[in-house]
């Protein structure tokens, strides 16, 4: 085919320019280490990379959430440890106070110790995190969880919500627990509590103990009201029913529970038995009541009965409170374990996402350097060809 001089010139120039542009692209790839810079470099990879980067970002967010929850839970865990210790010491003080040989002064001294425990618990209940947020106030983290009302009773200021965060694509987790859960509730397995009314007689109780869980009314509490019969003997009425005669040492079997009574009642005395959960559990109220009873001098049989009954009730309530704290602690521990597991999964995911992203957009160095070198040779060849072709002319010879 006949070629025009302009074609020869243009063709060798065009091929040189094409080599130059390919060489530049290869050089850029080697220098940046990236194969896909603009979407047109590989639209499929670029689009997938957007999705992978989104997955990486979400994975990082979950990791941040886990780290933040882990910090909160660790702090809660150590606070719960201290609360548990405080309840343990309160319980041992009750054991001491139960010793019948103690004097009023001895009990006063125990009351002082208990007051110390009470104050510690108030401080722990109002613990704050590094940002000054109250740990146990729920969403109301700017107000102390518990504050004393006009009568000196501790009242919960927070709400029943706990802050939750997404810790994986499918799971959200609470970063704490509320003061109401820790200090004002009992675990579902807690048993029954007997409480004496504002009695003037000397009736004391022991129990209640669970005897028959198959009883039709099991799970329901009951109340006893003492009165004096026409013949002057003591009698009691069960839940307002017809009174029956009372003898000190009687063991009552009601609703699958047994309760043993001793001492002499006075008309109007009462004893109330209820499920612990229904008895307005409140660690602060229990301790406050206990302290106040221990500070009261024991002069009459009624005083003594009141002391014994209070100690008995408080002992059960503290035991329940401790169970509650342990339950929360277990839940915190298990959440921390879950976080560890999720962290491992998250790290694995992060690694596989990163590898995937790298596979999509990163340059393969061996390949790109090889290409770079061969394009360099090709460009040099094109340049040499250009020069030698331009020299080829008949005009050189005439």
């Amino acid at each position: 085919m006949r070629l025009s001089s302009a074609t020869i010139y243009n063709q060798s120039l065009t091929s040189m320019l094409a080599q130059e542009s390919a060489y530049q692209t290869a050089a850029q790839q080697v220098a940046s280490g990236t194969r896909v810079v603009t979407p047109s470099d590989d639209s499929l990879a670029a689009a997938q990379a957007v999705n992978v980067r989104q997955a990486i970002a979400a994975n990082e967010q979950y990791a941040d959430a886990r780290s933040s929850i882990s910090t909160s839970l660790s702090q809660e865990e150590s606070t719960l440890d201290s609360i548990n210790d405080a309840i343990t010491s309160a319980r041992s003080l009750i054991v001491q106070a139960n010793n019948g040989t103690l004097s009023d002064a001895d009990r006063e001294s125990i009351a002082t110790s208990l007051q110390g425990v009470y104050d510690t618990l108030v401080t722990l209940a109002n613990a704050t995190d590094s940002n000054g947020n109250y740990l146990f106030s729920g969403y109301q983290s700017q107000s102390p969880a518990f504050a004393a009302d006009a009568d000196g009773n501790m009242v919960y200021q927070g709400d029943s919500n706990v802050v939750t965060q997404l810790v994986s694509s499918t799971q959200s987790m609470a970063s704490g627990d509320t003061g109401a859960t820790i200090f004002q509730s009992v675990s579902s397995s807690a048993g029954f509590i007997a409480e004496a009314g504002d009695n003037s007689g000397s009736v004391t109780f022991s129990g209640p103990t669970i005897t028959d869980t198959t009883d039709a009314n099991y799970g329901t509490g009951f109340s006893l009201t003492f009165s004096t019969a026409a013949d002057g003997t003591a009698q009691y009425s069960l839940d307002g029913a017809t009174p029956v005669a009372y003898t000190s040492g009687d063991t009552l079997q009601v609703n699958g529970l047994s309760l043993t009574l001793s001492g002499t009642p006075v008309d109007g005395d009462s004893i109330n038995v209820s499920k612990a959960a229904d008895a307005d559990p409140d660690l602060f109220a229990t301790l406050k009541n206990l302290i106040s009873v221990l500070q009261t001098p024991v002069e009459t049989d009624a005083d003594k009965a009141n002391l014994n009954n209070t100690l008995s009730t408080a002992s059960r309530q503290l035991s329940n409170a401790q169970d509650t704290v342990l339950t929360v602690q277990t839940s915190v521990g298990s959440r921390l374990n879950q976080l560890d597991v999720l962290d491992t999964i998250g790290d694995d995911l992060a690694l596989s996402y990163t590898e995937r992203l790298s596979g999509l957009v990163d340059a393969d160095y061996t390949e790109s350097v090889t290409q770079y070198t061969s394009l360099q040779v090709a460009l040099q060849a094109a340049q040499q060809t250009f020069v030698s072709i331009q020299k080829m002319s008949l005009f050189e010879y005439i």
């Binding site: 063709q11 810079v37 979407p39 689009a47 957007v50 980067r53 967010q61 941040d64 959430a65």
Partner: protein, 534 residues
Amino acid sequence: MSIISIGVSGLTAAQIALSTSSSNTTNAYTAGYTLQVANFSESTSGSGVQISSVDRQYNQFVTTQLNSSISAESALSTYQTEVDQIDSLLADGDASLDTLMQSFFSALQTLTSDASDTAAREEVIGAAQTLTSQFTQLGSYLDDMANDVNSQIDDQVSQVNDLTEQIAGLNKKISLSDALGSTSNALLDQRDLLVSQLSELVDVDVTTQDNGSYTVSLSNGLALVSGNSSFDLQTAVSASDPTQTVVTYADAAGHTTTLDDSVFEGGSLGGLMDFRDNSLSDAQNQLGILAVSLTQAFNTLQASGIDLNGDTGTALFSVDDPSVYGNTSNTGDATLSATFSDDVSALAATDYTVSYSDSDGYSVTRNDTGASVTSAYDSGTLTFAGMSVAISGTADDGDSFLVLPTRNAASSFTTLTSDGSLIAAGTSTGSSDNSNALAMLNLQTDSIVGGSKTLSQTYSALVSDVGSTASKVAGQLETQTSLTEQLTTLQQSESGVNLDEEAANLIVYQQYYQACAKVVEVGTSLLDTILDIN
């Protein structure tokens, strides 16, 4: 016939041949130059030689093929120049939209761990501002591109008019010189070069008339050049979409016709219109729907939550209301104004046309697919595709309106506040209440765009669309360029100058000239001999 005359006829022929060869040599690299060849023939008036003609080595068929290939290449190359800009805008980096969306949600995540933390709130606002300003920047860049395309269309239309006017002028000169029987090769070269330049701008059909003049017409048959006259193209604002420039044609009778974009398939004009109607408006609409979806979903959550000051949340983001344009040929006096509904899950990244007919009332179609869209009309309000359009006045049969919900949304996307306490992170007054912030965080993975895609998936689709279009166009351009090269080589193989060939011709004709001179010398000496006898 004397030997001298015969020799002189050879000298004359040699001079013409040498001058033709010189002309070829000097124009070896001149654009549009066509190789000329001097044709020798025996002298008709007795012995000797004559140059019967100096022919252009011109092939109409190859030239037509080449021009149409140039047209197609020019369209693709224009498209590539434009779409490459969007391609670069979407290049991955710290400022890419997906990275900034991730930063925004990451800041929200930090907020969920402590909703009372004012620093975390400021961070959310900061990330939101960075995100919206990047959206605005990208959106404005695309809006500027749309304006630039319009002004490029203006420029190119006036270039087309210049060229057609010149071609008409050359037609006149060529037919005149034809009539005088002395066709000028230079004029023919010049006219063919102009047609080739015109092909770069717009795809045209060229037919040659008996008198040698070219008739140049558009793909729909409308003549741009006919004989000695040229017909101007003009630009005007589109009747249906005032944001777009369209090309109009004024015929000899003075009637103006609006040319559909599809008339321009090749040439840079075709490339510009193709880009504007496809890649550009798609990119604008997809960016826009991201902005609209995030705005509506986030603001709806804001309104259902409580901020740090204990007040009901207010809108955090804002985008402009959809633009509505009544067709300039509407005869009714209805005006439409559109707003977005809280739920924009039915919205698609496209433009919509609302039409009115006396029999069916208002109906809506999507401009990208032409499919009809479910709409409900109730006492002056038309609701469709996540929009609520208030209609005042009365439309006439055949009136239509263009609704652009997402086209310019990205450039108007803004963060309304710089006060972090206004983020409605909770649903109660508790300062650590993060329940609403958790719902906001979920927007990251919820299918809030068009009811079927997440924000990230939408962006990914945009990246994929632009990337595949850009690489498709680059591939097509490469093919078309090599086709043009092949055709050029073919055309040049006939019409191009080869310097070696001309060097050889120069040598040959120089020798020929010397030989003819020798003939004259011989003739002279013969004459001398006879004269000497006397």
